[in-house]
């Protein structure tokens, strides 16, 4: 039984994997987009 299917008290126990997935995905997408912006930038990698 997964920790998410807990006691029927209506409270979620655990579920940190969802939290890490959400926060990690945010960093992944923001980071990826930031890199694409820097690479496509008119001055190349030089950010000025």
């Amino acid at each position: 039984m997964t920790p998410l299917l807990a006691q029927g008290t209506g409270m979620i126990q655990g579920g940190w994997e969802f939290v890490w997935a959400g926060y990690g995905l945010t960093w992944l997408i923001f980071g990826g987009y930031a890199i694409s912006l820097i690479v496509r930038s008119p001055t190349g990698g030089d950010l000025s």
Binding site: M1, L4, L5, A6, G8, T9, G10, M11, I12, Q13, G15
Partner: protein, 147 residues
């Protein structure tokens, strides 16, 4: 009337019509009719409710929940304060499921008046609260300390 004024007048008319339609969408009775789920009262009053797969939404009546976890089988009553429908689900509801919480179930109303479902979803309110009691106070003092 000059060309430019004609254009402005037409633009004004077009924007009024579009804005009026959007206002109608927000003020009209569409929201009460085109719904994602039905209430138990609406399900009772519907003449052809037995034929269709529908979603039913309401609160789980306290004391009616009967959950056999090993066989993934749960029965409970759903109410909107007016009418009540018994639900028989053949899947385990999510962890937030409890007596008194809002649920949306997808399935069919049988001839015996029991709503059979394979999909139970929990509808959370827009309230997000810290745990009650000591925790709450701790967090408050912690904030006061930070600021």
């Amino acid at each position: 009337m000059t060309e430019a004024w004609k254009r402005r007048l037409f633009a004004l008319a077009a924007l009024t019509v579009a804005g009026g339609a959007l206002t109608y969408l927000s003020m009209g009775d569409l929201g009460e009719n085109l719904v994602y789920y039905w209430s138990p009262t609406e399900l009772h009053d519907a003449p052809n409710a037995l034929q269709a797969t529908v979603r039913l939404g309401g609160l789980v009546v306290p004391g009616t929940m009967n959950w056999d976890r090993d066989n993934s089988h749960v029965t409970f009553d759903v109410t909107d304060g007016n009418k009540t429908v018994s639900v028989d689900s053949s899947s385990n509801p999510p962890a937030m499921f409890r007596e008194g919480i809002g649920v949306v179930v997808e399935g069919k109303l049988g001839g015996d008046g029991v709503f059979r479902s394979e999909r139970v979803m929990v509808k959370h309110s827009n309230e997000y609260q810290a745990p009650e009691g000591d925790h709450q106070e701790n967090w408050k003092s912690s904030i006061a300390g930070e600021e």
